[in-house]
């Protein structure tokens, strides 16, 4: 990587992490991002990274907890003051005695410490030998595939209503997709041993995946469902993906759906939805990503989005808006 490129990437890093205060410097970095697709991708990637860790991932102290610690501390400090004053007068009396006895105490302490370390050294050698001989023979995997796995559905053409009802009642435990994206298997609570398994174009599989995206509460299951859709071809899921991109409460899931839609040829409906994301998604990174995709798919529509963009807090979007409104 050339020094120039390295330098500008470092400055983009600083921009993303809000380290740059100088407006002119900001402007020159934004111009570089705006004119070089590699730098734009780098900026987008960093924005995604910066979005990974959120304030709510950390613990905030409860006020009552803080208050009780505070009052304990203030009591202690009052006591320290009293003790310190008592110590001062006691010290005057004992200082002379202490000094006289100090040398004798030091000699005894040295003898005691040497004896202690010698004993510890002796016993640590014995313990090491014992550890080496113990081994780890007891580790065994307890997992065995259940031979009586009940195939709930999998008869092609069986009524979906039945599966639907079952989905409401059971928690998804696993969702497997083979490497080619041909076979999909969804396992429910281990206690029920229920499973749905089928080819990617099986209507029951398609309906089940759509159901999971719309109703599942665990974002992990949703993300795996999106991956299954992605691997098995997204055309048949366009409507579902648009809804997810616009309405899911989790920004990562909305983002994933957006990226999936944009991989293939986008319909007018998808582009309209993308335009909506640029203007209305509550997540800044999603808005930037959506604009970037829209710029590739339909530059004029991207310009229109920028013209109508409400007040933006992201530097890059602000910069783009200023350019378009000039």
């Amino acid at each position: 990587m050339g020094d120039n490129m390295k330098d500008i990437k470092e400055r983009i890093f600083d921009l993303v992490y809000d380290e740059i205060e100088d407006e002119l410097q900001k402007r020159s970095i934004l111009e570089a991002i705006g004119s070089d697709p590699e730098l734009k991708n780098f900026y987008l990637e960093l924005k995604e990274d910066a979005d990974l860790i959120k304030e709510e991932d950390f613990i905030s102290s409860e006020s009552s907890f803080l208050e009780s610690n505070r009052s304990q501390l203030f009591d202690k400090i009052k006591n320290i003051e009293l003790v310190d004053e008592q110590d001062k007068s006691a010290n005057n009396v004992f200082d002379f005695v202490k000094r006289a006895k100090f040398n004798i105490v030091l000699k005894y302490a040295a003898v005691v410490l040497l004896t202690f370390y010698a004993t510890m050294y002796h016993f640590s050698g014995q313990k090491q030998q014992a550890d080496q001989s113990s081994g780890y023979d007891n580790f065994n995997s307890s997992y065995n595939e259940d031979p009586n796995l009940q195939q709930v559905n999998y008869i092609e053409g069986s009524p979906f209503a039945e599966t639907d009802r079952q989905l409401e009642n059971y928690r998804v435990d696993n969702l497997e997709i083979d490497d080619k994206g041909e076979d999909i298997q969804i396992d429910f609570d281990i206690s029920t041993s229920k499973t749905i398994k089928g080819k990617k174009n099986d209507p029951v599989i398609i309906k089940t995946l759509k159901y999971l995206i719309a109703h599942e509460s665990n974002p992990g299951v949703k993300l795996r469902t999106l991956k299954a859709m992605d691997k098995s071809g997204t055309n048949k899921y366009e409507e579902t993906l648009i809804n997810t991109m616009l309405n899911d409460k989790d920004e990562l899931i909305r983002r994933k759906a957006m990226k999936m839609i944009s991989k293939s040829e986008m319909s007018k409906k998808s582009i309209d939805a993308l335009y909506n994301v640029v203007l209305n998604d509550p997540d800044q990174v999603n808005r930037i990503e959506a604009l970037s995709i829209l710029e590739e798919k339909d530059a004029q529509y991207a310009d229109k989005a920028l013209t109508n963009m409400p007040n933006e807090d992201d530097e890059y979007l602000k910069y783009k808006t200023t350019l378009i409104n000039k």
């Binding site: 990974l52 991932d57 905030s60 102290s61 610690n69 304990q72 003051e81 435990d173 665990n218 994933k256």
Partner: protein, 186 residues
């Protein structure tokens, strides 16, 4: 800001002269942030409460040593951080658990596919990964992502250079990202 700084200077001066009320006022300006940091580093209330008491008693006893080379908060923060390290390493010796380096090795294998969905909620994955960072990385990430500090401020508190702090942060984020990718979470 200037008013606030001059009030702080005055409180420090009075506290140095033995005015406990001034010391209490000084502490209440910052102790929530200190407590939050201790809770996030030590991860349990009992240890955080101990470290909180020890921190501010050290601050009280060594107030005369504060010469104003850094901000008062930075000085207190450093004392708190050292106290947290001491608690943390004592706990490691006693419990013999929580060894981030070991855990990183374990996570390096690709057995992540076997994880159950409960661990694949992205927020859960991020929180679990934050737990597994080294203490130094955890500090940097905490100060940046929770406290919103600039890298140069973090560098000053940790007595590191700014580039090193950025590296710590970047590596921590990459580690979290890798975990999210390996669990198919993103």
């Amino acid at each position: 800001m200037i008013v606030s700084q001059s009030i702080e200077k005055e409180l420090i001066r009075k506290a140095k002269e033995g005015n406990n009320k001034a010391f209490e006022k000084l502490i209440t300006r910052y102790d929530r942030r200190i407590m939050d940091m201790l809770l996030n580093i030590l991860k349990n209330e009992a240890d955080a409460a101990d470290a909180y008491q020890n921190t501010f008693i050290k601050v009280y006893r060594s107030l005369d040593n504060f010469k104003g080379d850094s901000s008062f908060y930075t000085w207190v923060y450093r004392i708190a951080l050292n106290t947290a390290y001491t608690h943390y390493s004592k706990r490691q010796k006693v419990e013999g658990v929580f060894m981030p380096e070991l855990n990183e090795d374990i996570l390096a294998d690709d057995s992540a596919e076997d994880d159950i969905f409960a661990e694949k909620d992205p927020r859960e994955v991020v929180r679990n990964e934050l737990e597994l960072l080294s203490v130094q990385q955890k500090n940097v990430v905490y100060m940046k992502s929770y406290e919103g500090k600039k890298f140069r401020e973090i560098a000053e508190i940790l007595s590191l250079n700014e580039g090193t702090v950025k590296k710590y942060y970047h590596r921590a984020v990459q580690k979290i990202k890798k975990r999210l990718t390996s669990t198919n979470t993103i």
